[in-house]
Structure formats: structure tokens, C-alpha cells
């Protein structure tokens, strides 16, 4: 059984580069200022694991955590 992933954006670190939204639009949403937060509770649906890691590894502010549950 594969482990489940959850993404989380640290709102104090996010500066609105919006790379996560461009790379993994299913997993992140932007507020009216363009700052990111995880979609829903951050649970990564099966098949989108790669996008979660890709978003994390392209965030210039190191604001994204991918939590293995």
C-alpha cells in the first residue's frame, strides 16, 4: 500500500511566486493577493504525488511541506 501525501503551505513564508499553482493547480489555490494555500485539507489524490513533489522543489521560498502519512 502506498503512503498518502499531504501538502501544506507556510503562510508566513509564501510570497506569492505562484509556482505551485502553475505546476500543481489541483493541489493549491491562491487568495486575492496571489498568495498560496493548499486546496482543501491538502490531501494529495492518488496519481498527483509527482506534482506535489514538483511544487515543493520549485518553491523559491521553501514554503511548501509534503507530509508523508
Amino acid at each position: 500500500m502506498t503512503e498518502r501525501l499531504r501538502v501544506h503551505v507556510d503562510p508566513d513564508k509564501c510570497q506569492g511566486h505562484a509556482r505551485c499553482k502553475a505546476l500543481a493547480p489541483e493541489l493549491f489555490d491562491l487568495d486575492e493577493y496571489g498568495n498560496a494555500h493548499e486546496a482543501g485539507d491538502g490531501t494529495v489524490p492518488p496519481g498527483l504525488e509527482d506534482k506535489a513533489w514538483l511544487a515543493k522543489s520549485n518553491c523559491p521560498e521553501i514554503a511548501i511541506d509534503v507530509i508523508e502519512e
Binding site: Q15, Y33, N58
Partner: protein
Amino acid sequence: MSDVSQPAAHPPVTDWVHDFDHTDPQWTEDPFPIWDELRAASPVVHTNRFLGCYLPTTYDAIREIANDTEHFSSRRIIVRDVRKEIAKNAAPPITSDPPMHKPAKQLLLPPFTPDAMKKLEPRVRAICNELIDDFIADRQVDAAARYTKHIPVRAIAHMLGIPESDSDLFVNWIHMILELGIKDESMLLQAVHEMSAYFSAHIEARKNKPTDDLISYLMNARDKEGNPLEDSHVLGSLRLLLIAGIDTTWSAIGSSLWHLAKTPVDRERLVAEPGLIPTAVEELLRAYSPVTMAREVVGETMISGCPVKPGNMVLLSFPAANRDPKMFPDADKVVIDRRENRHAAFGLGIHRCVGSNLARMEMQVALEEWLKRIPDFRLDPAGAVTWSQGTVRGPRQLPFLLGKAM
């Protein structure tokens, strides 16, 4: 102001580690080996030029400074020969420090979200095609003069609600401020004065007849107490949008086309796989980041083990950070499908470029439309590519031959 200086001649640099100068012709032409040399010497180097200035050379040192607003102020953001008095509301939020920074920034962010840029995209696509229509029948073109130069200025004019036909005025002011102004204070003052007069007239006109554009948006904005912004704040932010929105993306599009003109394998791949263009844009932003920012040291501290003292400026070279091999494998190579790319082309920390979503959209659209219509092009060996000097680096002459090589 009484201390208007004459343009100063800078002696050529012979010792980069102790006497660097980002206006030296060698830096303008090919800065990459210089950054490698300086990075090998120290994470932070210093020059006595510009009344004293540090240059952090590693990604880590640059990140540290960008995130330290206590010791590094944004009240001066261009390294010049002179330090003139600090103007109130110079160009908020880029010239603001906490706690003034956040409200000024939040005001500008909503019109520049990715969703807002999607609405502007069709106009930018049309601008690109109108420009291409004008020269596609020719066998050769200066892509800087005929294409890259016009895209960002027309897009920002469209957003501001000022005539796109005033573009040449804006381009000239930017040149006077960002390039000539480093050494010739009078050029800078003249451009700022003319620009302020221009925008003041547009603000006045909207007081009687509001419009649906960015100028009216700023005039209608209210602070937390419900008060409108002072005219000088509106003017400062307009100045910022124009200065920051033009040269920068012009340079980024130009460097991208320059790279593709001399790298057929990358060009052919993007023509065949246009879906890769957004990824390639990130890599081109990393490898040829146009914008170098600055800070003023306002408190003594240590950066990557190096002492840093007040009274000096800091040249915050995001372009050099993006070439740090400790951060990016094959940092000196353009890898157009690079998957992991935490580049700092739009800055790091609270001063992340407000227009980053606009710049990315313009770059993607400009490359898509160009490659669709002009899949084959190369540098014209009879012409010379020239680069802008100073704070924003990009090609200012870009002679291409169009069509397949005979």
C-alpha cells in the same frame, strides 16, 4: 538639489575581487565568469566604488540579505555614484521597509494575480502578432528594436489606461533612469520630473472622469483607516509600475530569443513541443535573470561569515545567485526542461516582484507567438548584439536572420 553630479568616468576594473564595478564594459558584455571568480573568492566581496558597496556572490548569501529587512533597507534600490536624499514615497512598495511595506504591497497585488493576467493575455498575444506582421516579410530584423522592446511597454500601458502610442516616451525615461542615471544625476532627475508631470496630468483627468484602469484603481484605493492614498503615493506606485514593468521583461524576452537564435537544438525542441515553453521560460529566467536589485546596509551584521557594515550599499545580484553551482547542478548550462528550479529571478522574501505573473505571461506568449510564426532564425553574423548596462541586463540590439539557413 545642489549636488547634481557630472557623469563620472569609471576606471577599468583590473581587480574584480576588491574593486568590482557592475557598470564596467566587461561585466556588461559577459558577467558570468566574473561572478564565478568572485564566488570562488568569497560569499561577499566589497568595492570602494559607488561610495562603498558589497556584492553577495552565493545563493545563500543573497537569500539571507533578501530576508533580513532589519539590517538591509530598501530605501535605496539602485547603486549609483551618488547617494541623493531619500524621497518620501519614492516608489512604494519597492522602496518601502516594514511596517510600511505590507499595506503598500497588498494594494498592488490584486491586479497582478495569475487570473488577472489571463484576462490580459489576448491583448498581449495581439500585440505580439501586430509587431511580427510588420517585419515577417523581411529576411532580417533587429528583434530588440522591432519586437521585445514593445511588448511589455504596450501591455503595461494597456493596464494603466494610457495610450500605447506613448510607448517611446516611456522607454526613453526608463533608459535615462536605469542606465544613464547611474552616472549622470541630471538625466535621472529630468526623467523623473517628466514622468511625474505626465502621470499627474492623467491623475487629474481621472478626478473628473474615472476610468476602468490601474490608475483609477490606485486613486480609488483606501488604506486601513479608509483614507485615499496621497497623490505622491499614487504617483510613486505608477512610476514603479512603469520602471519595473518595461526594461525587465523586455530584457528577459530578448535574452530568451538570443539563446534560441544561437541554440538550434533548444529552438527546434520548443517548436515541436510548445507545451514545454513554460518550463523553458523558468530556465531562461534563471540563466539570464535580468534584474539586479540593491539594498542599503543600516545595521552591522554578518552574512555567510562576512562582516557587513552600515554606510555601504549592497548590489543584490539575483542573476549571480541563479548561477551558483551549489544551488543548481550545471548552473552554467541552459537545461530547458530543468525540473527543479528554485530560481530567484523575481527576488526572494517580501519584495518578490509584484509583476512576476505579468512577466511570465508576457514571456510565454512572446515566445509562443514568435516560434509559431518564425520557427527558423539565427544571429546575423554581420550585426552585433549589444547589452544594456547596469541594473537590468538584456540585449538592446538583436540582429537576426529569419528563415532557414541557405
